[in-house]
């Protein structure tokens, strides 16, 4: 690989600052006592404590998954802090937010305050484990939309939370989902009532600030009959040379004719160029198309984390329901990603689309893993999958692991895959036409990711394009 290309892909991490604010931190370690402590701190009802304890007991009986195509040392779950909250934490308005914290968000480019109004974005900010401020709550409440932190929802709308929590991702679903169910500290809750089209994009910004703290957020989004919502999630973390665990659970429920679009731009700290530090991003995201004609669409741009283990999935239960997964995963240096989706077709005439774009640079390893499962009752089900990999340089790897299970003869399943390479000859072709390496790489990458970026809301698409640029471009001398 030429040295210019080397420079291009070695852009430093920009969100690696630590915010100096006082936190209310629980001692390290995990046990029933920790869970009772978290539950008590959050003043939770008994049923939720029971949910946590059941999950914890389940977790104890489970083993860490070893099937992903990633390598890391065994995690010491006793060395992790399970609760870390900025002080003071009781807030009635955005003015009460620690100014240091606000500056952090400014550095992150989080749209809040007036900027939020201009951008038309309502932001629920999760900083370490506690949701700091939720903007636009009142405006949304006028149309009956509930948008708040999940802790607040537990207090204010316990029946709604109880009705849906754990219905898409059961507490014992997998190792990390069980861990999350036991210790989750905050996250977002969003409820769109019958027939309401959410008038703005809703947004959460996650950030991990404390060293050795785990972030276990829990997000629950419910769209009732005929409702629709577009939800954006962005993530960053400061630089530490130890690994931090992020084990989130996101559950989406779409009732009849409901439409949920969930977009993520993930830029957790990925570790340095030698692979030291960085986030372990072990996340369970799943949507249930419960009603007929419902639709759930996942769009993700994954650029950060030392390890990404994540399969946003759709369970297509309602007849004619639609599941979509659009993904760009970029890995550089020593990053490892094993990501993809599961589309489970249960209802009739259910349809799913998978478009996955993996970009590997440096010594990174990027795997697509996807399951398309067509059940015996899924008459006329259809799936189309497209998995493309792009390699930058000679030392990275890309893999595709598609699993297809079809139990209904009327189903149609298509899978296409390709691998391409940004090579010296392509860059030379650009150069010979007067176009420099930096611009060339950005054009090739944007072209490669176009079908996914088109799915993102406008301001996110711009951010994603810039982010990929930052990851791959910059210091061409």
């Amino acid at each position: 690989m030429s040295s210019t290309l080397q420079n291009l892909v070695n852009q430093p991490y920009r969100h690696g600052f630590v915010t100096d604010i006082e936190s209310d931190v629980a001692p390290k370690g995990l046990g029933e006592e920790t869970i009772r402590m978290i539950s008590a701190k959050k003043n939770e009802p008994q049923w939720l404590l029971d949910f946590r304890l059941e999950a914890y007991r389940h977790w104890l009986s489970m083993d860490e998954p070893r099937w992903p195509n990633v390598k890391y040392p065994k995690i010491d779950f006793q060395a992790i802090t399970y609760y870390s909250a900025p002080k003071p934490k009781k807030l009635d308005s955005i003015d009460q937010v620690d100014p240091e914290l606000l500056r952090t968000f400014e550095k992150l480019g989080v749209p809040m305050n007036e900027r939020a109004a201009l951008a038309g974005v309502a932001v629920d900010v999760v900083f370490d484990s506690v949701s700091v401020a939720t903007t636009y709550k009142e405006k949304l409440a006028e149309v009956g939309i509930l948008f708040c932190s999940i802790s607040e929802a537990v207090q204010k709308y316990p029946e709604l939370v109880r009705k849906y929590l754990g219905t898409v991702v059961p507490s014992g679903d997998n190792y990390y989902a069980a861990l999350n169910s036991a210790v989750f500290t905050d996250g977002s809750f969003c409820f769109i009532p019958k027939g309401v089209k959410c008038p703005m994009d809703l947004s959460t910004y996650f950030r991990i600030n404390t060293q050795d703290s785990g972030q276990f957020e829990r997000t629950l989004i419910v769209a009732e009959e005929g409702a629709s919502v577009s939800y954006l999630e962005g993530c960053t973390a400061p630089k530490f040379d130890t690994n931090q665990l992020h084990a989130a659970v996101v559950e989406l429920v779409a009732l009849e004719r409901a439409d949920i679009k969930y977009s993520t731009v993930q830029n957790w700290y990925a570790g340095d160029e030698n692979g030291v530090g960085g986030i372990y991003n072990f996340v369970t995201k799943r949507g249930l198309c419960k009603g007929a004609d419902s639709r759930i669409s996942w769009t993700q741009v994954e650029t950060g984390s030392a390890i990404t283990w994540k399969y946003p999935s759709c369970v297509l239960l309602g007849d004619n329901s639609v599941g979509e997964f659009y993904s760009v995963a970029l890995t550089n240096h020593h990053q490892q990603a094993d990501t993809g989706t599961k589309m489970v077709h249960i209802g009739r005439n259910t349809r799913s689309t998978i478009v996955s774009k993996g970009i590997s640079a440096g010594r990174s390893n990027n795997s697509y893993r996807g399951l398309v499962k067509i059940g015996p009752k899924a008459e006329g089900a259809r799936n189309y999958s497209q998995c493309d990999s792009m390699l930058i340089g000679e030392r990275c790897g890309a893999n595709t692991f598609p699993y297809i299970e079809v139990r209904n003869p009327t189903a149609t399943v298509e899978h296409e895959a390709s691998t391409s390479k940004i090579g010296e000859d392509q860059l030379f072709y650009f150069a010979q036409r007067g176009i420099g390496t930096e611009e060339a790489v950005s054009m090739i990458i944007n072209g490669f990711c176009k079908t996914v970026f088109q799915q993102l809301p406008m301001e996110f698409a711009v951010e994603a394009t810039k982010l990929l640029g930052l990851k791959l471009e910059g210091s061409v001398g």
Binding site: S2, S420, G423, E424, D425, Q426, F428, Y429, F430, A431, Q432, R433, G434, I435, G436, T437, E439, M443, I444, N446, G447, F448, K450
Partner: protein
């Protein structure tokens, strides 16, 4: 056209270059003056394409000796994109495919990068669209090319036309056409050759690398050079190409051997 007192545009002296440690160019001397058309012929593997790529600055090749003056300045000191912006153009023998990058976007960016260098106005997408469509008409190209990815799924002939289209857009001072005739049927050859001839002027120089005399029926060279084993071993007028067509290359070797033993 050879003109007395024309300014040398390209002066190559004793140029040597290697790829992966193997020497391919073994001391090339070559001069092209403004207004001239040169043809470089020679057997496969004689170094013709390498010569073109080294001049354009392909990173896989290392220049080990010699000098190249372009407009009187050291060409080898410039990175490839700056050589291009300074007016050095290479029509590739095998143009690469660039999936996902639209041809019109690519052409406009290339055009604007050269325009900026020349201190001229850049064109926005709408202005450029009109401009490029005119150029395409001259080459009898279907405008739908603009909506496709760069060279992706193009036939061999379409790729070559796309190269000449780029040459027409960039209006280079020094154009190297590396086997632009291969893969073209006789009608396409005529169209492409006419396009190249139209671009030839007293303010530029054109070098065509070819295996076949037939191209030279359309593009009449002022000089014909024969390359062999990394050197230019013979230079003559346009008749030399005809002689090569009937007699092949062996007689040049024999002549060279005879000259050496005399």
């Amino acid at each position: 056209m050879i003109r007395d007192g024309a300014k040398p545009l390209l002066e190559v002296r004793n140029l040597r270059a290697t790829v992966n440690g193997v020497e391919i160019l073994k001391g090339i001397d070559f001069t092209a003056r403004l207004g001239e058309v040169h043809a470089i012929m020679g057997p496969n593997g004689s170094g013709k394409s390498t010569f073109a790529k080294v001049l354009a600055g392909h990173p896989a090749y290392t220049v080990t000796a010699g000098e190249v003056l372009y407009d009187g300045a050291n060409l080898l000191a410039l990175p490839p994109e700056e050589r291009a912006r300074a007016g050095v153009f290479l029509a590739f023998q095998y143009p690469v495919e660039i999936p996902g990058v639209g041809n019109s976007q690519f052409l406009r960016l290339a055009y604007n990068s050269v325009q900026a260098q020349r201190g001229k106005d850049e064109l926005d997408p709408l202005e450029f669209d009109d401009f490029v469509r005119e150029k395409m008409k001259l080459l009898e190209m279907n405008p739908e090319f603009l909506d496709r990815s760069v060279n992706e799924g193009f036939s061999g002939g379409e790729k070559k036309r796309n190269e000449v289209l780029q040459m027409a857009l960039l209006e280079p001072k020094l154009a190297f056409l590396d086997e632009t005739d291969s893969g073209l049927d006789i009608d396409a050859l005529r169209v492409v050759a006419e396009g190249i001839n139209r671009l030839s002027s007293p303010d530029n120089a054109t070098v065509v690398v070819t295996h076949y005399q037939r191209l030279l029926n359309y593009i009449v060279p002022d000089y014909v050079h024969v390359m062999d084993a990394g050197r230019i071993v013979k230079t003559g007028g346009k008749d030399l190409a005809l002689m090569l067509e009937t007699r092949g290359y062996d007689w040049i070797d024999e002549e060279a051997r005879a000259a050496a033993s005399a």
